[in-house]
Symmetry: C2
DNA sequence: TGATAGATTTCGAAC
DNA sequence: GTTCGAAGTCTATCA
């Protein structure tokens, strides 16, 4: 795992270290250092001299962490070019990206630690996404409503896609918009647009709109009511302390 | 900066290390290790045994990085309780959070490196946010249109706020929706809702809707046209290679 | 505390 | 390459 470690490397040593390992592209490079950081691209930022943890991953992503927060102080999700060189006696790291054109530049004032870590990838699974909800509801649409028949999923209509497209027991079309978490007014507007689009594309049809989510905000409920749309509570996970035996999706 | 470093610590040593430093709450704790990770809360996830970099920051944030991506494989933006203990001969880290109720559990199978880093905070400035655009346009509305007079900013109407509320040279009301980056159809719908709200609240007034952004997607342009709304190109930053002398905001 | 909208959002999928 | 929408989004702001 730990391929190489340097303590308080000199600027030229650090530059060589970074260059060598990012070229090889098989390790995560980490530098703990006092440095200044400049970013220019979608926005422009400057971080004064301070202590940061710089991470350069194999996939070309760059992130510079400060003392706080899960978000790096500066980052680059992908880069097309990472290079390190000595400039005015200091190691300078430049991470560039085209499309969008942007650059993160780190000037190391004093490096305390440099690591090259080889990280094996391993399996990862996550459940509880909206996709999972959709699968569960498609398998068992009666959770939404007795007699509902799913006609399609991710039905594309103009811009965007209808999560679930169905027909109710009375033959009306039903557009279902799913949210894995509490739904706000945005979700209702999204639903309203889909319902509108279906009404235009299927003239004469009666089209219902249903927002299916674990909960809704009060304003969202208002917008639902104004638009003649419906809300159906769908609980993805049972509440930890709930003794109620309720139909849940997982 | 480097307060303490352990190489291949035994489970009990690692647990004591983590407990001591997270209690003290003055350093960033990092552990490079082979581990398994479980998360349960808003969703549920499992990471198989693999090599990860675990970061515990002073503010209680937790992040576990894999080989790829700027995003951690698991994380916790805030925690109410972090604890480490030995369980079945292994060091186990549990990071909990109430509201929402969620837990990240890291089981260390083999720790390779543990660090305690003291990171001084330093100044940070960023420019180019939508707020900055709004300030610039409020100072100089003629960038949008000659003769425009700004009446209000962040005007609250029902749900949400109008970025810029103005009057044009012909006395018509103008609702301006700003986007710092390329605007999609969502932005247009947002604008349309604001225009609609103003029309309802100011009966009889002629209300224009203007989307001001560096660019728009093709579908967004269509929605604009259908809704009788306008687009005004507002370039926040001059394109790096542009020789055209254009009015820019910064 | 709840709701809303921005973010250098990131990320992945579909076209 | 674009566009779109989800995300365990996170974060700040404001009622």
């Amino acid at each position: 795992v730990l391929r190489e470690q340097l303590s308080s490397p000199a600027p030229d040593v650090l530059a060589a270290f970074v260059t060598r390992h990012t070229r090889a592209c098989d390790v995560l490079v980490q530098v703990v250092a006092e440095c200044e950081i400049e970013y220019a691209g979608r926005a422009v930022s400057t971080a004064d001299a301070g202590q940061y943890v710089v991470l350069l991953k194999c996939d070309g992503s760059v992130q510079i962490h400060g003392a706080k927060g899960v978000k790096p102080i500066n980052w680059q999700p992908r880069t097309d070019d990472i290079s390190a060189h000595v400039e005015n006696g200091r190691c300078v790291l430049v991470a560039m990206r085209r499309s969008p054109e942007e650059v993160v530049k780190v000037t190391f004032l004093e490096a305390h630690l440099a690591l090259a870590l080889e990280l094996e990838e391993a399996g990862f699974t996550l459940s509880g996404s909206e996709k999972d909800m959709q699968d569960a509801l498609a398998r068992n649409p009666s959770v939404i409503e007795e007699g509902l028949v799913v006609l399609d999923r991710e039905l594309l209509i103009g811009v965007g896609g209808v999560d679930l497209y169905a027909r109710d027991r009375e033959g009306r079309l039903v557009v279902v918009e799913l949210k894995r978490a509490r739904a706000g007014h945005e979700a209702v507007h999204q639903l309203a647009r889909y319902v509108q689009a279906v009404r235009e594309q299927v003239p004469g049809a009666v089209v219902r709109g249903v927002l299916a989510a674990p909960s809704v905000t009060a304003p969202a409920l208002e917008v639902l009511a104004r638009g003649g749309l419906e809300f159906k509570e769908v609980t993805a996970f049972p509440a930890p302390g709930s003794s109620v035996v309720q139909e849940t999706l997982f």
